[in-house]
């Protein structure tokens, strides 16, 4: 219907130009131009909009992860007879869960030295603390308020009783990152 109206309009324009013979040529030219223009328009739109697509479904997951790293230590508490030298090491952690803490416990009864662990230079908002490490089934909190973070601190051991030193012995001190 739209094209018929368009044609009428064009012929109307041609008639108003003058006599039939001379006006038919411009009319045809106009019609041809309109036809070519519409073809270009349609073709151009198709080309611009032309595209193909394909889809993939991807499953993503990050599981809860809690890790600690600390070195093994060989400590000689009383190297120098008059001093009780502190021994320190770095403790690294990573946890991506909420409300975690690091606890410490001495798991072996061997040795009678009283050992204190001081937390120094902790990264982030971690509260530094100082705890006495005793043989116990109940670990004590060393670092609390760990949430979705990776960090590092210095653990400094101090022996509290010089007199108790006797011979070499091995102590197993267990650090645990757990729900707080």
């Amino acid at each position: 219907m739209a094209s018929i109206d368009g044609r009428r309009a064009c012929y109307g324009f041609a008639v108003s130009m003058g006599d039939g013979g001379s006006t038919m040529k411009p009319t045809r030219n106009i019609l041809k131009a309109l036809w070519i223009g519409s073809l270009l328009l349609v073709g151009g739109t198709t080309s611009a909009a032309g595209q193909g697509s394909s889809r993939q479904v991807l499953t993503l997951q990050v599981v809860e992860l809690n890790k600690l790293y600390l070195p093994s230590l060989w400590i000689q508490p009383f190297q120098h007879s008059d001093s009780i030298a502190p021994h320190q090491f770095h403790l690294d952690w990573i946890c991506n869960g909420e409300e975690k803490k690091i606890t410490v416990a001495k798991k072996t009864p061997g040795g009678s030295l009283l050992l204190r662990a001081n937390v120094l230079s902790a990264s982030g908002d971690v509260v530094e603390s100082s705890v006495e490490i005793r043989v116990s089934n109940s670990p004590v909190d060393l670092l609390i308020g760990l949430s979705r973070s990776a960090g590092r601190c210095i653990i400094q051991y101090r022996f509290q009783e010089k007199e108790a030193a006797t011979a070499d012995f091995a102590d197993a001190i267990l650090y645990t990152i757990t729900g707080g």
């Binding site: 198709t46 080309s47 611009a48 032309g50 595209q51 193909g52 697509s53 394909s54 889809r55 993939q56 479904v57 991807l58 499953t59 993503l60 997951q61 990050v62 599981v63 809860e64 992860l65 890790k67 600690l68 790293y69 690294d92 952690w93 990573i94 946890c95 991506n96 869960g97 909420e98 979705r148 973070s149 990776a150 960090g151 590092r152």
Partner: protein
């Protein structure tokens, strides 16, 4: 007389026979031929789940995981400057990163492209300058990374759309 008749018959056959041989009819047909613009892209399926399970104490970046098990193929006759874009149905939360890497022999691969924030309105180019023709079974690589501070992520499905376009 008999001889004359035979000659006449032979002559007639020769004349009319020749005319019959030269007689022919022809008809014409108009066949319209066209090749439309073809943009085809297909993928070989979906990759296995990407699950992050490892990290290093002291480092906020967890150990990333990758998948290169799927491929894509394209066929196009449109031009020599086509490209492939990629986007997801929804952006990833902050702290999670998804990179895509499409190999290509007909175009230029842009390598690892971060599509973590690429959605339908902001698709990103992954291969450009694709020439006419076909490119079959090219590897699609995904790398998923996360930080510890971003937290855990429960199993989440994302729809990745690859689009061949000009």
């Amino acid at each position: 007389m008999k001889k004359l008749s035979v000659i006449s018959i032979v002559a007639l056959v020769a004349i009319f026979g020749t005319q019959a041989a030269f007689a022919q009819a022809s008809a014409t047909q108009t066949v319209s031929l066209a090749v439309n613009a073809v943009y085809k892209i297909a993928t070989s399926g979906s990759p296995a789940p990407l699950v992050i399970t490892e990290g290093t104490a002291g480092s906020d970046n967890l150990t990333s995981v990758s998948d290169n098990s799927t491929t894509y193929s394209i066929t196009q006759n449109v031009g020599n400057t086509l490209k492939i874009t990629a986007h997801m149905d929804a952006a990833l939360p902050s702290g999670y990163t998804l990179n895509i890497n499409l190999a290509s022999t007909k175009g230029t691969s842009l390598g690892n492209v971060n599509i973590s924030n690429a959605t339908a309105g902001s698709a990103v180019d992954v291969v450009t300058g694709i020439a006419r023709g076909a490119d079959a079974a090219q590897t699609i690589g995904y790398t998923f990374a996360a930080t510890a501070s971003a937290g855990t992520l429960t199993s989440t499905t994302k729809t990745i759309t690859l689009t061949l376009t000009n």
